[in-house]
Symmetry: C2
Subunit: 156 residues, 2 copies
DNA sequence: CTCATATATTTAACACGTTAACAAAATTGT
DNA sequence: ACAATTTTGTTAACGTGTTAAATATATGAG
């Protein structure tokens, strides 16, 4: 185990950022990927992406929703959402209408085919989440969610 | 505040996943985006992406590193890393050599131009991180990092 | 040595993230 | 009513995420 020389040894030490492994951005990324690793193969079997799942799931929860509201709830940027909506509509999972009262707005609604996907995916998704919750600890998940919410809320 | 009817009211309730706002994947995504929102404008001013910053920062920390090790440390998938390396090399921030002992391996090293970026960006990055730490609470950051590590480690 | 297998990296194809610019419709002020 | 402004959604351009397949080199069995 010989310690190699690195640029950091050449006197630039004070300039370097703190250790990569204890940084919030990467830790959040790793944690998220670890969680999604449990869901992604299942979603892939049903031929939908994580984002597509978020969109149809929100439509199933909330009924008719316009694009801005969807972007907000699903945490998807408008340009991505435009593409996702196009794809979901082409596949017949959702329908899209212009709002009669405000011609700029696009109203989204889940289609029967989309409800079928919800019915197929939901039980599996639930099961995966519950196993995760059990393994990590139910209360610890709650604590973690609270801490993450607070971190996300620091900007406001 | 009239409660709208949704597909959920039509008897499908048991099929629906739990509430979107208390889900780990989205909470992790929101938290991460909130954190990155503090860094991104600064990185953009220096004309580098978050991932490019991770790569050169690791080279500054660790010296010569091969691509697999980099993928591991920076948590970037191999195909993305290939593109990022190409871009960083074209811009003269890093250099790339074939390993003499193992012709498959690609060794990466930071270039003087890359060290200049490190010197420019590091202090700003540090300052942003420290303000974040202060506002969220130093110990709370440590607790959160531990909880995230544990979540990421559930897979092993 | 040589063939089969394993490993490191790249390429390809498609989806999403990000920023900026654009187009269309609504709102506001006069 | 109408011009300026604001809001909503789309398009464009580029970088990254994800999976599968391809390429090149290394390693191991016989």
């Amino acid at each position: 185990m010989s310690r190699e020389k690195t640029p950091a040894d050449l006197g630039h030490d004070a300039l370097l950022p703190h250790n990569t492994r204890r940084s919030l951005p990467i830790a959040l990324l790793r944690a998220r990927e670890a969680v999604m690793a449990h869901f992604r193969p299942m979603l892939a079997r049903h031929d939908i992406t994580e984002q597509q799942w978020r969109v149809i799931r929100i439509l199933a929860e909330a009924g008719r929703v316009d694009a801005s509201e969807m972007a907000d709830k699903a945490f998807i940027l408008a340009p991505s959402l435009t593409r996702i909506i196009r794809s979901l509509e082409e596949r017949g999972l959702i329908t899209k209408h212009k709002d009669a009262d405000d011609g700029r707005r696009v109203l989204l609604e889940i289609a029967p085919e989309g409800m079928r996907v919800i019915a197929d995916v939901s039980p599996e998704s639930r099961a995966i989440y519950e196993e995760l919750e059990t393994r990590y600890g139910r209360e610890r998940v709650e604590v973690l969610l609270d801490m993450l919410d607070e971190l996300a809320g620091l900007n406001d």
